[in-house]
Symmetry: C2
Subunit: 588 residues, 2 copies
């Protein structure tokens, strides 16, 4: 069978979310038409100095912007929508379809970033089907997750139906009563699903994820035991959890004050859209609740992950301007630390305790459950959809492997699944699934100012600076190879007990030695007259010497940089053709 006769093949190109948690971004492509599914961000890991946000490599999308027909959003978490504004800064996306809550949050983000006019936002409801381009029909299927209004996607393509689970858990008793639409999944399973792309986050964990509702009685009991004020922290986007906390607060006659920008933001959207239902009087600003008796106050804050600038972290440091811990306060962490945040969280807990708060944290209290499917739930997804091909997504390597093993245990042949990497061009048709190519993949790093992209060279420089510091020497050399002034030396981040004057003396001696011993190697003469100086070569030579002497004397390995100023015009310049290079060209 030649290429032309074979059945149609869809390209699936994950740009983020594989071998990592975060920046979920997936491309579906057929016949020069691209549909995007989510565009998330990730947070920087160790060594990404000065980086604020991590985005996927967008090269492929920049180069194929003309193919983009639109984007599908599955739900409103940052690792699924947080990158969209950055995409829109680089190319238009004609239309974005998504659930109401996610679209409300997204609209705010796009306005803030000044790119609201680069796309059209369209809200969809469960079981809506929309056409995108000439080849794709997209069906939105209600699922259950830790944020309200979350979708699994059925992508109808010329090659067949591809189910992308988005993030999901199996919650048979969802807080908002919006049940997982197993019927639609089962119907697809009955008719035939070409490929299932499924959430692998909890694939290492046996059994089922408990229902979000299971935390209610535990929170209820713990809140009831608190004698003084209650401070509760959870993920700002955990709309169901927040709903329960507000409900229990009302039942126990506590007024609630929301603290923290992202929490205020999500709750405002969720209330507008009816995902959070509570009367206005329940929510009061901080300055109002301050005058109420402690036992009638609940403060709901951000900072469950020990984020440095979050409200709870600042409270724990005693640095929150409007909120200080008082004896009798009970602080409840209704969230588990994400790996990597553990130290920040326990340090926050310790500081809160030192300030006199009673802190309730840890798994044994049953006050947090995951929003992602465990092994038995992942099996149900496979059982309902009965896919021909299977692609584990949304997870680190070992999670993808475990998820594939789970799929194998349910009878999906090893040849019918792939462990994808970001940037893989996966081609799936009725016949086969294979990696057909590779597009640029990796990280684009947005710096803390939000305006610049940090490249790997800058990161390496910052790592070197952080580890050993930098020594900079400034010197000015005249046309005769003499110092015009005393060299200056500057140390930053360098460990030394050495006398400054001594180091300065050594540096000056070294420079003068090189100038007197090696000047003739760099100065060019024509007929006895000096016509040109190789300032670059000289600078390299002196810098190398200084590096040697400085590192030896300081007993450490700082970066050593020489800034050599050279005369604007040679004193004896007579030759108009002279090409003059300044030393700093190599240093910059």
């Amino acid at each position: 069978m030649t290429q032309n006769e074979s059945s149609p093949a869809i390209k699936i190109i994950p740009l983020g979310g594989l071998h990592e948690i975060g920046k979920n971004t997936c491309v579906f492509e057929y016949n020069d038409e691209i549909v995007l599914l989510d565009a998330g961000l990730a947070f920087p890991t160790d060594g990404m100095h000065g980086v604020n946000i991590v985005l996927p490599d967008m090269t492929y999308l920049r180069e194929n912007r003309h193919k983009i027909k639109g984007m599908i959003v599955t739900h409103g978490h940052e690792d699924h929508i947080g990158g969209i504004a950055f995409h829109l800064k680089q190319f238009d996306i004609p239309v974005i379809y998504g659930p109401r809550l996610a679209m409300a949050m997204l609209e705010g983000k796009l306005e803030e970033a000044g790119v609201r006019d680069r796309t059209e936002l369209r809200t969809v409801r469960p079981r809506d089907v929309v056409r995108m381009g000439s080849s794709f029909f997209v069906e939105f299927i209600r699922n259950t997750h830790s944020i309200a209004d979350s979708f699994t996607i059925a992508l109808h393509t010329p090659a067949g139906v591809i189910i992308h689970t988005g993030d999901f858990k199996i919650d048979h008793t969802p807080v908002d009563g919006e049940a997982f639409d197993f019927q639609r999944l089962a119907e697809h399973g009955e008719k035939g699903v070409l490929c299932l792309i499924s959430d692998s986050t909890n694939s290492e964990i046996p059994g089922s994820t408990p229902s979000e509702r299971s935390v209610y009685p535990n929170l209820d009991r713990i809140f009831a035991q608190a004698k003084g004020r209650l401070l509760v922290t959870t993920f700002a986007s955990s709309v169901h959890r927040i709903n329960m906390i507000l409900e229990i607060a009302k039942k126990q006659n506590r007024v609630v004050s929301i603290v923290g920008r992202s929490m205020l933001n999500v709750i405002a959207h969720a209330r507008n859209l009816g995902y959070i239902k509570c009367e206005d009087s329940l929510l009061q600003p901080l300055h109002v609740v301050r005058s109420l008796p402690d036992e009638s106050v609940l403060i709901l804050t951000t900072g469950s992950q020990g984020e440095p600038m979050s409200a709870m972290t600042r409270i724990s440091r005693g640095e929150h301007s409007h909120l200080k811990i008082r004896p009798g306060d009970t602080v409840v962490f209704s969230a588990n630390p994400i790996p990597g945040n553990t130290i920040a969280v326990v340090n926050t807990i310790d500081r809160l305790m030192m300030q006199g708060a009673k802190v309730i944290y840890g798994r044994e209290h049953g006050i947090h459950v995951s929003g992602h499917a465990c092994q038995e739930d992942q099996k149900l997804m496979i059982a309902l959809t009965r896919p021909k091909f299977f692609l584990p997504a949304h997870g680190e390597h070992r999670m993808l492997i475990k998820h594939a093993e789970t799929a194998r245990s349910m009878g999906i042949p090893a040849d019918n699944m792939l462990i994808m990497h970001n940037g893989d061009v996966v081609e799936v048709s009725e016949e086969a699934i294979r990696v057909a190519g590779k597009v640029p993949a990796g990280n684009e790093l947005v710096d803390t100012s939000g305006t610049g992209m940090v490249n790997s060279q800058v990161l390496q420089e910052r790592q070197r600076l952080a580890e050993e510091g930098i020594v900079t020497v400034a010197t000015a050399v005249d046309w005769n190879g003499k110092l015009m002034a005393k060299p200056e030396i500057h140390l930053r981040g360098v460990v030394t007990s050495l006398e400054r004057s001594l180091l300065q003396k050594w540096v000056q001696e070294r420079i003068e030695e090189v100038l007197s011993d090696r000047w003739s190697d760099f100065a060019q003469y024509v007929g006895g007259e000096q016509v040109e100086v190789d300032w670059v070569g000289l600078q390299v030579q002196v810098e190398r010497e200084l590096q040697r002497v400085i590192r030896r004397e300081l007993h450490c390995q700082p970066s050593v940089t020489l800034l050599m100023q050279t005369p604007e015009e040679p004193v004896k310049a007579t030759d108009g053709r002279r090409r003059r290079r300044t030393a700093a060209q190599v240093a910059f």
Copy 2:
């Protein structure tokens, strides 16, 4: 009762190990006599750029070195003996008593550091009692822990008996058959213990810590299932674990190769002293086992915590020169990640899997148990010793608090316990326990070269450099306020897409502007003649201007440093009394 008539009081001054895990160091003082108990190190946390080792603040010991009568070592873990060499570089310790294995390891460390002659090392055996100074008798009581040959200490003082548990777990079936000496503890409890200082590491965990022996059947089963080579990693100091691994290897006809410096080191000492018993033929170097069939090889390595330079980490990166992963390899992590190491460990696991290894990790396999007592074990320690006063030690804040709660539940009054901080001078006598003062406490940070101490200013500079990078400008100004040469500019770790020449131009313009507009503010004239220039003031002024313009143009906040070279002697210098300050004095 006046001070003179009151019963004698012992001072207990913890210098490390409280509100942290690591650098356990404790001072006992009576009548100008000091006995030290352990001197450990800690490893750097986030933000301690370029720091290799963290030590306690040794100011108090430096200033009171004449009082030091000796040191007690409880066991050979780094967080208990790793700081001793650094203490000995600063002051002598007449004698150090400790168990055989710890003393063998310590001797090597002291020789390597060139301070072996600064102390006398004396090995003690269980139930030995030694006199230290005129007031202390020290009794060594066998306990059970993850390293062999570990002691709990009974310190007989004029105020009464103080029990310091050291690190312990309650292991009724220790691998080496050396049982916890409950009899001596009980005897002390019967006669009367003034104060118990006890290990709080696992005070948040209910129940009892399983016996080390419980991992044997699980390792045995997992090893038996491995078809190809076995690579096993655990803590280098876990002598009991290593013993079991060697025993199973022998039973299953695998030859063992040890990889990793610290593992080789500990095993050599432990074999010499008989704590690890195995015939020479079982252990073979890597080049020998390379030629053996895969199924008869077990490689035991360091790197269970994902330490960057460890053998297992380098293997996972494919960077180990003698050892590459082959298909069919099984890698076993017989250790749980310490909080803070989780990301490094799972990344290592992911990389090993990507190279084709099967990796066995995680709690569900039962291949690691803790070396520290859980709540029920901590209760047994209190029950056996029946102390009047109780001091939870060795733990972060919430662990200390939980341990105190456990002690409260057993009837120790709240007034009879304290939550200590490093540097507290705790005075305990028959009458009372109280914090009587404070000595300097905190961290002394040893840099990666091992020679220098990193102070907090250097760390702050490094943090700033790491986050935003640095811009350095060199300029040379003559006695008339004119530039002697074109200023040079150097960027390191700075994000910008700006043209270098443009930035250079702006910088030069800015400098020339300040010089022309403000020169008269900094130059001093006597009778119309310029006699002095305030170079420091000028430098500050120009640097401030440059910082403003550079940060504005680059849209980021790098450190900005100006190195201003000034003429050696003023051209028109006539006044011999002129006090000349160079600009760089403020920059350095």
